[in-house]
Amino acid sequence: MSCRACAKVEPWSVFACLERGLARRRLPPLAHAGRRVAAADGQWACFTLAVADNRLAEIRFNASPCSTLIACCEALAELNQSARLDVTPIVDTAVLLARLPGIPASKQERAVLAVAAWRAALAASTTMRAV
């Protein structure tokens, strides 16, 4: 038995996530837009989603130009790609940081911001589908 959140964590390279995230960040937004979530220091992130057959068919984001934040957003997008919406998507900061173990403590608040933006997008998606 396994689940996506508690399966053995395979660490990802922060830099590789950053590189892929920079490419994803350039893509135009999708139909279901989450709220833009900002931190006190001005950093911000916003996810957009495409939903099909009760799955997250595609995930995109935009974020302020911070390497750590972009890597975190990209990791969340990859962790949740094709996830079923009736199964709780991964929204946990600890899971995210376990995937990206190279992020130093001084930058881990970026993961919290990314997760907050991700939760906002999921909430918006749920609202949109309920209407």
Binding site: S13, S67, I103, K107
Partner: protein, 112 residues
């Protein structure tokens, strides 16, 4: 005069200019300017790794003289060393650097 150094070029920038000129002068209190910060790009970040002898001397001087040390975040992630820097040495980019220096702005920023 207050200065900040940005270590941007490689080759002997750290081992020679920092390790044999700036650092010994700071240790002896005869550098001639008040250094408020140092920022490191690319391979220069390896000096900030835990256990690096120049880095450990630098950290002692920085602690005594309230000198900000900061590594470039992308450079450190690319080299997979972001979480292995000397205690208390942050990573960041220009907004972080300017923010950290905001209360102690240098008169000159010198790129080496």
């Amino acid at each position: 005069m207050k200065v900040a150094y940005i270590f941007a070029t490689q080759k002997h920038t750290v081992s020679y200019v920092l390790g044999r000129m700036i650092l010994p002068q700071l240790e002896e209190g005869r550098h001639g300017a008040t250094v408020v910060g140092m920022f490191f790009f690319e391979d220069n970040n390896y000096v900030l790794l835990q256990g690096n002898p120049i880095g450990e001397r630098l950290q002692r001087v920085a602690s005594t003289n309230s000198i900000l040390l900061m590594g470039c975040d992308q450079c450190c992630y690319e080299r997979d060393i972001a979480d292995r820097l000397l205690d208390g040495v942050p990573i960041g980019c220009f907004p972080d650097l300017y923010g950290a220096l905001a209360d102690n702005m240098p008169d000159q920023i010198i790129t080496l």
